[in-house]
Structure formats: C-alpha cells, structure tokens
C-alpha cells in the first residue's frame, strides 16, 4: 500500500485535534469548571483555527536547536568574561530591572498558561496554551542563566527571587500578572496572549534587544531574540483567540472589548519602565520610546485594529492618552526612580550633556521645556555633593500600583499631577488616571485586595518604618545595590577593570 502524503494541516488534525472525546461517565463541566462564569459563550470549539501546527516532535527538535545555540553563547560569554564588552557598566542596570521585574513575570505567565492549558475546553486552544506555558518556563530559565554571569560581577541581581514578592516597584509587574492569573481563563488569555503578547510585546523585546546589541551585550541579545522567536507563536495565538471569541457569539464582543481596553492600558502602564530603559539606561542609544511606540503600536497596532473592525472591535480609548503621554513617559519614570534611587536595587544617574541633546532631538516638544531643566538642576546638586533623594514614600495608584507621577497630558497640562479617586464601601481609593479608575470601578471587589507596598510598610508588615528596616526586609544591601551610579561599587569595579582612573 502506497502511503498517502499528508500535509501539515491534515497531519496536525489527526495527531492532535482528534484526541479529545465527548464524556459519557462524568459531567464535562466538572472537568472544565471555569469555562462559563466569565460570560463568554462558546458554541463550537471545533471552529478553532490552529495558528501554527507544531506537534511535540517538531517542538522538541526546533526548541532544542534554539537552546543549543543559546547555551553555546552563554558558555562562551562566561568563559570570555563577556561582561567586559558592554558599552558601560551603567548599562547593566537595565539588566537588573529585566531580571527582577520581567523574568519573574515569565514564570507567572508559565503558570497562567498551564492553568488555561488545563482549563480551556477546546483541545486546539488548550495545546497552544500548553506550548506557551512551557515556552514561558524557558524564558525565565534562560534569563536567569543569562544573568548568572552578570550576577557574579555586579550588585543588584542576587536577590531577584526574594525581591519579587516584596520590593515596592516590583509590585507593578507582579500585580499585573496576579491580576491576569486571578481572572478566568478567557480573560487571562485575552490579557496576556492578545493585549500583552500581540499588541505590546514587541515594545518590550525588540527595541530592548536591539539596544542590548548596540551596547555590546551578546548574552542578552541572544536570549532576547531567541525568546522572541517563541513570541512570534504566542502573538499568533493572541490574534487567533480574539478572532475565535468574536466569531463564536456576538455577546462576546462587549466582554472582549472591555478586556482589550483594560489590558492594553494595564500593559502600557507596565511598559513605563521599558520606556525609561530605552531613553535613559542605554549608554549607546538605539531608538527612543516614542519612536518605538509609533512603529510598533501606532503603525502595527493600527493595522491590527482596522482588521478587527469587522467584528465590531474598536481601538481602545486609552490609545489617545497614550499618544499624548509618549512625549513624557520615559522622563517622568526615570525622574521617579532617580529621586527614589536610594530605595531601589539598581543605580540611577543624570543623563550626560550628549544624552540630553539626544533626548532634545527625540523629544523636541517636551524635553527642553519640561525635563532638561530638572535634570540639569539635579546634576548640579550632585556635582556639589548634594545628590537629591526624595524623603518619605510616594502615593501609589490603587490599580497599576505605580507612584502617582503621571500628569494631565491628555489635557495638555504636563505639569499638573493627575489625581483621580472614587469611593467604595466607605473607603476612598486613588488613581493615576481615568483608565486605572475605570478598571477599579468595574471590579472593586477584586482591587481592594491589592498589596500596595507603601501601605504595607505603614502597617508594619515590611520590617519597620525606617528605610533601613525596609531594605533589610527586601534583603537589599544598603549602600551597595542602591543610590547613584557615581561612587557605587559597580562603578569602582568597572573602572578598575577597564583601567579608567
């Protein structure tokens, strides 16, 4: 018998889609109990279109190939002390943020997709989620391994695990993923696969990794792009899940729209730190946050939302505000970390004269008017030995948990702090924006439970009231990991290694 030639689609259907069966002995709802409470209506899982059709054998094969390449580079990097090739030790601080803020989020994503990969009733979507889950495990592990060498030569990496559950600014990424993971499986997958992976992840990985390449960091470039090759699959899953939900039932449209609105905003707020890394932390600059936003969101995302119009999905309203904030976001974020740099596990600094000129050029409408004078004033003080650190603790937004530093950019008043608040069951809650307030008001029952670091310190749950106590609770070595780059032990070691006086 001559064997029939099977194409990829048929093969995938036979090997994967047909594995599922109709239950006879148990109520299927007992096995998949979380499919209905969110209000999503699935009429026919078989209509699911597999975005890519990797069977496990091909998955193992291609992923092993990627891993082999990656670890060969890690080994070479460590053997050759590759950290000596980065443009400047200031650059390494961007990696500290990456390991402490982004990497643990990969583990959270691994877990969230394990949950959806178990709980979605349709086998096609389920397996796509499972593959993403194991990919996300790959990402945290390859990141830990990439940073392993940096950890041996710089401060600020070694307590990433302990920090993630405690440190004030890390509650931002943690609460983002906790929010998604505590949602039902459909909201989770719309939040992470669509809003985060499809719409925003390019803004995290692509410019940042190209920036790493510009700054001589081959280990990071390699893990970044290697991880991103998985992201291409994840993004596709994001688009497929959206199209599937929208095609399944018209009642799904407003629910999905609400989730897109919420998660695009949540994701964008999370990327504030990436904006800052791009504009302030790369000694060799590559692309401004504003340019990246225009290329990867306004251009690519615009095309996406035009594509989704036929389902009745609209571009989220927050996009207008984001477009106005793009002239201010990185500057305000860096200023916040600069002034609270004594309580962070990475170093901060004022931009050099050349860097300020670059910022003026990239941000002609905002930098010279609003931000250059601030950084020049800070630099002058630092020069005099009076480096400015802000005393006390900032007010945080109840939803995104970021200090309330955002200003009324939507109203063209970039020098007025944006204050929003609401009442719920006799308590007042504060927000950095209309969008964060809307998210809270939609589900106050959930957001009252936020673990806000500043309030936890006041309640006595973080080791004490003094900064020194709190640093101890964070397991941060005060004087080594924090404060200005100038005069830090990182700087001293770097200069010694490079033979700079």
């Amino acid at each position: 018998m001559e064997a029939k030639k099977l194409n990829v689609k048929e093969k995938y259907r036979l090997l994967t889609r047909d594995l599922d069966w109709e239950f006879s002995y148990e109520d299927r709802k007992e096995a998949f109990p979380y499919e209905e409470f969110e209000g999503i209506k699935i009429t026919d899982w078989s209509k699911w279109e597999d975005p890519f059709r990797l069977t496990m054998d091909a998955y193992w094969k291609y992923q092993a190939e990627k891993e082999k390449k990656l670890y060969a580079i890690y080994d070479a990097f460590a053997q050759n002390n590759g950290h000596l090739n980065v443009s400047d030790a200031r650059y390494v601080n961007a990696l500290k943020i990456f390991l402490t803020a982004i990497s643990p989020a990969e583990y959270a994503a691994h877990n969230g997709f394990a949950f959806t990969g178990r709980q979605l009733g349709g086998i096609g979507a389920r397996i796509a989620a499972q593959m993403q889950s194991i990919d996300e495990l790959r990402h945290i592990q390859t990141q830990i391994h990439a940073m392993s060498h940096y950890n041996k030569h710089f401060e600020g990496f070694d307590e990433f695990s302990h920090m993630h559950d405690r440190v004030w600014y890390l509650s931002v990424p943690k609460s983002f993923f906790d929010d998604a993971r505590s949602s039902g499986p459909f909201e989770y997958i719309v939040a992470i696969s669509f809003a985060f992976e499809y719409v925003l992840t390019n803004l995290l990985f692509v410019p940042f990794m190209s920036g790493a390449a510009y700054n001589g960091d081959m280990a990071t470039v390699t893990f970044g792009f290697s991880a991103q090759s998985d992201e291409a699959r994840h993004m596709t899953l994001g688009l497929e899940i959206i199209k599937f939900l929208l095609e399944q039932h018209e009642d799904n449209v407003p629910i999905v729209q609400k989730w897109i609105d919420k998660w695009l905003w949540r994701g964008y707020r999370l990327l504030s730190v990436v904006a800052m890394m791009m504009d302030y932390m790369l000694p060799q600059k590559f692309m401004s946050w504003k340019e990246a936003w225009e290329l990867y969101f306004e251009d690519a995302g615009g095309a996406l939302f035009r594509d989704l119009e036929r389902y009745g999905i609209k571009m989220p309203a927050c996009a207008e505000l984001i477009a106005k904030e793009k002239d201010h976001l990185s500057h305000q974020t860096w200023w916040t970390f600069y002034t609270f740099g004594h309580a962070a596990a990475f170093h901060t600094w004022t931009p050099s004269a050349e860097e300020m000129d670059w910022l003026s050029e990239k941000y002609p409408d905002s930098f010279d008017k609003w931000y250059r004078p601030r950084f020049e004033m800070a630099a002058e003080l630092a020069e005099k030995g009076e480096r400015f650190y802000s005393e006390g603790l900032p007010q945080l937004c109840q939803t995104c948990q970021i200090p309330m530093f955002y200003t009324e950019c939507g109203d063209d008043r970039p020098d007025d702090t944006c204050y929003r608040s609401t009442h719920y069951q006799g308590e007042r809650f504060h927000f950095c924006s209309d969008h964060c307030k809307d998210i809270f008001e939609d589900e106050p029952e959930k957001y009252v439970h936020a673990w806000l670091p500043v309030h936890q310190i006041f309640q006595g749950n973080c080791g004490g009231a003094d900064l020194a106590d709190v640093m101890k609770y964070y397991k941060l070595n005060d004087g080594a990991v924090n404060a200005d780059y100038m005069g830090s032990s990182d700087e001293q070691r770097w200069k010694a290694l490079k033979g700079i006086a």
Binding site: A3, W60, A114
Partner: protein, 329 residues
Amino acid sequence: MSIEIKTAKIEPIRNTYAHIVRRFGDKPASRYQEATYDVAANTNFHYKPLWDQEHDLNDPSRTAIAMEDWYAFKDPRQFYYGTYVQNRASMQEKAEGNFSFFEKRRLGDALPDVVRDRCITFMLPLRHVEQAANLNNMYCSSNANFCTALSQAAIFEGMDRLGTAQYYSRVGLALDGNTGSSLIAAKEDWMNNPAWQGVRAYCEKTLTVKDWFETFIAQNLVFDTLANDLYFRQFDAWLTENGGQDIVMLTDFMQVRATETQRWADSIIKTAAKESEANADHIRSWISSWRIHAQAALEPLATAMLSETALPEAFAALEKRLTKIGVGE
C-alpha cells in the same frame, strides 16, 4: 599570556544567586539549581482568584499533602527546560528514524492481520488515555505553581504525554497508510467497545479530581504502573510472539520515556510520604481507592487484550513498586 593577566583581575564577587547560596552554600551552582530553586512567588499576592476565592494564587494548601519545604521534591533527572528539550529532541530523532525505517520498508504491509487488528483496537485508543494524562499533569503543574521543582517537572510530563499521544496516532497512520482510518476505528473502540469503557470512565474520573496530589497518584502511579506493565511487558511479549515485533520498534520512545519518568514519580511520592505520617496516610488512602477503580477499569481491557491473568500480573508489578517507594500495604 594575556588571558591569565585578565582572569587574575576579574574575580567574581559572588558565586551564585543569594537564595541558592542560602540553600547550598556559597559555591558555584548548577544550571538546574539556578533555574529551579525559589523561582516561584510565594507570598504577598495581590488578588483573590475569581475562580477560587478560598485560596491564594500560589497556594500549597490546594492539596492535603503538607511539606515543610516543597523544594525537598527533586527531579532525579535534573531537567530544566534546556536539558529537557535537548534530551527529548535526541529521543525523537531516534523515533523518527524508527518510523521512517518502518514506513520505507513498508513493514506495515507485512504485519499479520491479527497484529494489525489488535494494535488498532487495543493500542491506538491509548492516544486518548495519553490525552487525559496530558491534562492531569497540566493540572499538577498549574496547582503546584508555588514550587518550580514540581511545576516544571509536571509540565515536562504533561508535554511528554501529548507527544506520546501523537506518537500513538502516528503508529495508526503507519498502519493505515496515512488515511486516518485506523484512528477513526480506534476512536470508535474508545467510545463504544465494552473493553475500553472502564478505562474511559477512569480517565474521565481523574479529570474531575480536585486535589492535585491525588490526581498525581491516580495517573502517574496507579494507572501508569498497571498500563505500563500491561503494554510494555505483556502486550509487547504478545506482539513479539505473533510477528508484531516491528510495532515494538514504534513504541520504543514511549517505553524508554515511561521508564525514565517513573524514577521521577517515585521520588515525588517517596519524599512526600517520608515527610510525615499524615502525608503517608493520604497517599495510602488515595492508592487504595484508585486501585479499586483501576481494577474495575482495566479488567475488561486486560482480559480482552491478553488474558485473565494479565491484570493480576500487572497488580503484582504495582505492589512491587509501592513497596519499593515505601507506600505498600
């Protein structure tokens, strides 16, 4: 030489991450250690899950098993993602070679009808069993999210079981010349053949279990031990005796994998049982209830596929394993 001069100056300031130092001392750590220990979040969660308001997001109390330190669970293979996929990639390369040898030589054509029929009726429906095993291990992974040592090994097992389901499907395609007719026939058996209904009921039941450690016992210990003995020892012997040895070549991946993974499952159960009497009691009571289900589930299948003595033999293998890991009667 310039290299020596360089290395003399570049002294590391520490050997590894602080949480690894706290566990293993201040010395260079393995990639497995850095990739695994204390990676998962374990405190200060922000919201209550909308789907489980009684628990935190990462919450060890989703099982009755209690541990002082959950990282006492070790994977004897020390698999993290990189070593796992590379190991499986070389296994799949070998499997690919076996399949292409089988197909190129048209070994399927030479099989006696009785072998082909039995494979379709009794072996191919295992792809559905493996699909349940995939879900059950994903369940363990997602519930053991507070401990990376467990969550990662469980997802590796889950993905392995999907791969196994796909390999069984490919056995079918190798038998039916890629038409898929054998898979349709096998699904018909899975859904309606009385020999399979007990197993199907067992699989469906495991998917409704709430305590993930119980799921682990029901799937990876009780069912797998029995099924592995029935298939990889007894049915294999039958195949070899009846001119079906070429099929055995196609299930090599599944056998090697099952043997390897058993060591991991054993270490999990052993460690949990050794921790406390209470854990051992839970484990014993789950074993005793699931072996009763398994007896009822597998009896018709084992008898129809092999003989009336087949299942007792498989239970003897289970006894032996239970004794070995210290949870025998």
